[in-house]
């Protein structure tokens, strides 16, 4: 099992969710986050005061998936979240030791 974490542009969230649903991903956790990468922030001007905003709003999605679909999930996120412009985000893949479905107590692949 793998945990796929992706940081994407907020307006791409719906497209990514649709792409993931299409390949059978059953669940997704979404968090609104801020961060910076190569995409530069912007400046805001309030009367005489100028502020540089370094942290830009992004959306972080997390999905736990079976090993055999990892490549397809990555591909789905990559293609649906891409605009080709700087700031499209990143996908992180990490091993997942255990998953438990709280209601039934199922574990491992059965809980995905």
């Amino acid at each position: 099992m793998k945990l796929i974490t992706a940081v994407i542009k907020p307006f791409k969230l719906d497209e990514v969710r649709e792409a993931l649903s299409a390949i059978g991903v059953q669940g997704l956790t979404v968090t609104e986050v801020k961060g910076f990468g190569r995409q530069k922030g912007h400046t805001e001007l309030y009367r005489g005061a100028e502020y540089v905003v370094d942290f830009l709003p992004k959306v972080k999605i997390e999905a736990a998936v079976n090993d055999d679909v990892v490549e397809r999930v990555i591909e789905a996120i990559e293609s649906s979240a891409r605009t080709g412009k700087i700031g499209d985000g990143k996908i992180f893949v990490s091993p997942l030791d255990q998953v438990v479905r709280i209601r039934t107590g199922e574990t491992g692949n059965d809980a995905l």
């Binding site: 001007l45 009367r47 005489g48």
Partner: protein, 512 residues
Amino acid sequence: MKKILAGLALAAGLLAPAAWAQDPAASAPVAAAASAPAPAADAASAPAAAAASAPAEAASAPAVVPNKGDTAWMLVSTLLVIMMTVPGLALFYGGLVRSKNMLSILMQVMVGFSLIVVLWVLYGYSLTFTEGSGASSPFLGGLDRLFLKGIWNNVTGTFENAATFSKGVAIPELVYAAFQATFAGITGCLIIGAFAERAKFAAVMAFLALWFTFAYIPIAHMVWFWPGPDAYTSAAVVEATNAKGGLLWQWGALDFAGGTVVHINAAVAGLVGAFMIGKRIGYGKEQFTPHSLTLTMVGASLLWVGWFGFNAGSALEASGSAALAFMNTFAATAAAVLAWCIGESLIKGKASMLGAASGAVAGLVAITPAAGNVGIGGGLVVGLAAGFACLWGVTGLKKMLKADDSLDVFGVHGVGGILGALLTGVFNAPQLGGPSFPVDWFTGTLTSADAYSIGAQVLVQAKAVGVTILWSGIVSLVAYKLVDMTIGLRVTEEEEREGLDISSHGETAYHK
């Protein structure tokens, strides 16, 4: 107090109401003869009721019965100015601070306003708008209306009158006292923006009480107190009656609705406060971004609407003069919004919402002393000039002053107030479209273009501005010092970082 006796000593005029209704002086200060006949007819048609409100000293002369239209308009104007402060000013300021200090601003404005209104009823009105005695009379009123005593008679159910700017036209003095209470209240609250996000709540209240007593009251008396047109009963008393007015009024300073009394007065107190209290922790390093420009826009809009009560209400009658002030408040403000946005676009490349809201307030401030004192064209110029000048006030001037005037009280109210006061002297000129004023309140002789000297009037305006700056500056300095020595002006560093909402009031504005 002579002012309240409007119409009481009016014997000569009232004997021939039709005659004085045609007199240009009846519609002073603005030449709008059309507005005069209505009150005249009213006064003439209700002689029986008029007698009811005549106090003993003038029992023989029929008193003026306030016109219900005037009274209704002034009650509405009073409500509008209350709305300017709570919620208008509170939201305008509140949106500009960080979310952790939102409630502290709302509290300081609401409670500060309430404090001053109570003080106004106790002694403020009397010391401002009654006639003083001896050498202090040009600076301070008397004690005749302490606790508003004698302003109405609870046994007979009669109400005293307050003078307007027309002979034989009065409003109930209670309405006048309420209207002026709102001015005192909002002026104190304007100061709060200068030391937002770091002042102790108790210190703010103590300062406001001191400053209201020793700066607002005398300056309002100096600029606005005069015996009223009906006190000018004969050519012989003109000089003596003039001498009863406030100092700056005697000088001939023009301030229709409070450029000096309200805006310069408050702005100087704010600037002194910003210096005395010191900069916010992290000023210049951390981001002090406004937490809700939406609320700031809502607040600025409420200010704009409320300002019609402030400016047009200052005509004290539902008259042509009020209409002139109304249109100037409308058009000059719109011009200032455009000017600020054009200025921002040219300098920074973008017009901003905060800029438009600030431009509106800048225009409103600048047109305040001019509202009923200039023509429409003059008003537009005042508005345009204010938009550009105050944009400089919150950028260039702010950098030069090096004070953390958090919400730019001086940049907007100080710069706009001074500009408006000076330009009032220019565009009041009849040759530049300004309304003509009576130069002699007995005969009602009006100023003429030939007799009007723009230079001389601007000089008088500048002197009034100078007196206000000095007076407010010195009183503020002493008042802040006193509060600092007793209560302490600032919250602790820890409290400031946590935010005043929690540390001063034990509440949070927004729950996430």
